[in-house]
Symmetry: C2
Subunit: 213 residues, 2 copies
């Protein structure tokens, strides 16, 4: 009986060890600390379906690290002929954000945003002639990547259109001293969402055609 007790206690200790070590230990991320943010986000499809336009923000600052991830996400999108005809202006200066808002009636949320990214196109870096217009598609894909990365990081943002409205292009170009030949496509105000933002369900079966129109 003594032997059974000793064996049993030993098994107890081993089991407690296993339980503590493998099950109760917090799961360590497999990446280095500066990569965690990139790995540790919610799933891609969930992010795509939960992304929404966020127009109200708290006063919390968006870190430069986070902004850099957003820029990296933007540059990870595809471009026609891999021309990458884009440039990104990232603004965190409150005075510049407010100045931009003055000429952009549909971007008043810049007054409350902690940052903004202006996605610009450089048609001359795309194909020549009519096909240089691919810069619009390329920069739009980059913008969508930025918006999804925003959602993945728990931030909020909204795409406010600049191109093709001439007055808006002129205003943004003037305030940001944008080089001639470079066109601001949009201004994306960014911040931490204040309160519940609603997701729009825009799925419409009548928008889908199978095999042909």
């Amino acid at each position: 009986m003594k032997n059974i007790a000793i064996i049993s206690i030993t098994i107890n200790i081993i089991l407690i060890f296993i339980l503590t070590y493998f099950c109760l230990k917090p799961v360590k991320p497999k990446t280095k600390s500066n990569d965690i943010k990139i790995v540790n986000t919610k799933g891609a499809l969930k992010t795509i379906f939960e992304r929404k336009s966020v127009r109200e923000y708290t006063d919390a600052k968006v870190s430069k690290d986070m902004l850099n991830i957003l820029l990296k996400a933007g540059m990870a999108s595809p471009t026609a002929g891999n021309r990458q005809p884009w440039a990104f202006i990232t603004i965190t200066d409150k005075n510049i954000l407010k100045k931009l808002a003055e000429g952009l009636p549909y971007a008043q949320m810049l007054n409350k945003a902690s940052a903004a990214i202006v996605v610009c196109g450089i048609p001359s870096e795309s194909f020549s002639g009519k096909e240089s217009e691919y810069w619009i598609q390329d920069c739009s894909a980059a913008s969508e990547n930025i918006l999804l990365a925003v959602e993945a990081l728990g931030l909020g943002a909204v795409w406010t259109g600049v191109y093709p409205v001439k007055e808006r292009i002129d205003w943004v170009s003037k305030i940001l001293h944008i080089a001639p030949g470079t066109i601001p496509l949009n201004v994306i105000p960014i911040g931490y969402p204040s309160g519940q933002q609603k997701i729009k369900d825009k799925y419409k079966i009548e928008k889908i055609h199978w095999e042909k129109w």
Copy 2:
């Protein structure tokens, strides 16, 4: 001693129970079976950074369920003024895929693809005048959502441009009987990737401007 043995054995049994029940039990997804695919994908940022143009596919068929998820992802993107000026043609008929390829020199992968989605814009459903051009940006964002959903689902695809090249627009419109006033932006061949596809690192620090140009 007998008591100790009995207590010890009892503790053993309890511990084994805990170990089996809480730690070794596979984690049950919290969603219904038809939602699993939407939840169970890799992280959003990882997907953004791992998305690549996939031009070679196996013979495996892409299910209609998967194609529907891609279409839902497309329609989850933002549009100017929430106009949703888009339509999606989804093709799985090999004959139509091959016919499309005949007039699209840069989309020869259609000959091997299991499916394709043609993202179309309907300018008249966007704003009026110059601002109707927002359909290009809206449909490009939808296309990027589709490409990211493709990556998330373990599929492969590539954005092949149609608009603004007149001959390609005419060819796709003719083959798919697209309604007048609707413009095919691109053709996205889709399939299961064959072999290792390379990820391009397109991050360039010189493309970033802080505060102003």
